[in-house]
């Protein structure tokens, strides 16, 4: 049976993730409520504004349900804002911003500056034969990765793709460059 993958659709780049997942032939659900989350096998948490998503998680009652599923071992892919929400520690966030603490990393929000510093670059990813074209939009920087965290890619020495248990997080946007390999790997690991 095809896995059923949810894309958190409270706000942000959920449509681009859903488009890639459709091409990889899985069932894709947009997730905005706890009931919708209960029906999926794995979750993608897209980029967007982590402050907005954090508030909407709380107001929709999804926050507790999501924390419970993650503790129960649900596979999750978090990109940009998704990475921030899954991190253990956030620097330059809002005081009331929620951290799900699934990956033992410290991330700094908007560490590169405003949009005019946003960039695209090729990065080498462990296990991929050719470079991956990565798009960084007002991206967070991983300032610390704990001993249990596997760093799968770096850009200028900083970790940009990390895995810990069932969670994979990227500081960049694998859904924007048309390359399906990281999504395919996420699905294969489920």
């Amino acid at each position: 049976m095809k896995p059923r993958v949810g894309v958190l659709a409270l706000q942000g780049g959920f449509a681009a993730h859903a488009a890639i997942l459709h091409r990889l032939d899985v069932r894709v659900d947009e997730i905005r409520t706890a009931e919708q989350l209960a029906a999926v096998d794995a979750l993608v948490m897209p980029g967007g504004e982590s402050t907005t998503m954090s508030m909407l998680l709380e107001r929709s009652g999804l926050l507790e349900a999501l924390a419970e599923r993650l503790d129960g071992g649900m596979g999750v892919l978090g990109t940009c804002a998704g990475m921030i929400l899954l991190a253990a520690e956030v620097v330059d966030g809002r005081a009331d911003q929620h951290s799900l603490g699934m990956v033992d990393i410290t991330v700094r929000r908007n560490a590169y500056g405003t949009q005019i510093e946003s960039f695209e670059a090729d990065i080498d990813v462990d296990g991929l034969e050719s470079p991956f074209h990565a798009v960084f939009i007002r991206a967070p920087v991983v300032e610390r990765a704990g001993p249990g965290v596997e760093v799968l890619a770096r850009h200028e020495e900083r970790p940009v793709l990390c895995r810990s248990g069932r969670a994979t997080v990227a500081a960049f946007h694998p859904e924007l460059s048309g390359d399906e390999r990281l999504h395919a790997r996420f699905l294969a690991d489920l």
Partner: protein, 306 residues
Amino acid sequence: MSGTPSSDTAANGGAATGTTLVKRGLAEMLKGGVIMDVVTPEHARIAEDAGAVSVMALERVPSDIRAHGGVSRMSDPEMIQSIMAAVSIPVMAKTRIGHFAEAQILQALAVDYVDESEVLTPADEVHHIDKWAFTVPFVCGATNLGEALRRIGEGACMIRSKGEAGTGNIVEAVRHLRSITGDIRRIAAAGDEAELFEWAKQLRAPLPLVQEISDTGVLPVPLFCAGGIATPADASLVMQLGAEAAFVGSGIFKSSNPPKMASAIVEAVTHYRDPGILAKISSGLGEAMAGLETAGLTTKMAERGW
């Protein structure tokens, strides 16, 4: 057109800034969100507290621009910087149509998006800004698909309906969204290339962009709604009509309870297809902004742009 570099694209350590992918990428990340007009750092904080994905820094909200009259220009850089310092979300600012010098100043301030906006008094009644020449991305208003595609041809990376700003009346935004999405559907259903040539001619739009729509069935850049949103139900309406995010101008800070209205519209854009949730968040919001009939307007801002 994707991948067309802007003239000041920087190559540093194999990293490229200001590319089409990077510019459109930020618009992708704002989808499902609300961009709020703010005139002070205090307003900006209220907007961020309510869950705005971005704020538009300007001196007066559109309803006050209407009431005030006179020439409306780019905001004071000091005021824009004070708003940038007050929040962690992206900050946009407006330039007059065709006023590339104002846009250059906004880029020097490192704002996140520039709105070449009909809400300000146009500086050029023939030319829009060459937006390919900038690292900062641009959003432009449109009343129909031809206008949207001309702006994209000039380098805009996000299109918003114009609506009729400062009226609190959604009727014009609905007209513009239906016109844009309706023509996209008709182009996607076109029979052959000859029909696409005719579409490009009728719309006064670049042919390659018409052909792209024929292939993909969608606008080449994100389509947002602006101009007249005053309630959560308005936000739900325009999202159901195909908008991917909402700009709210006077609708928040001209309502009787701005923090509450702002939060409610943020939730409405997320849950736009769920009437049960919308009923709950629409309750007890106080007075929405006072609206204006568009028939009685002396200035129709949507007519600015060529």
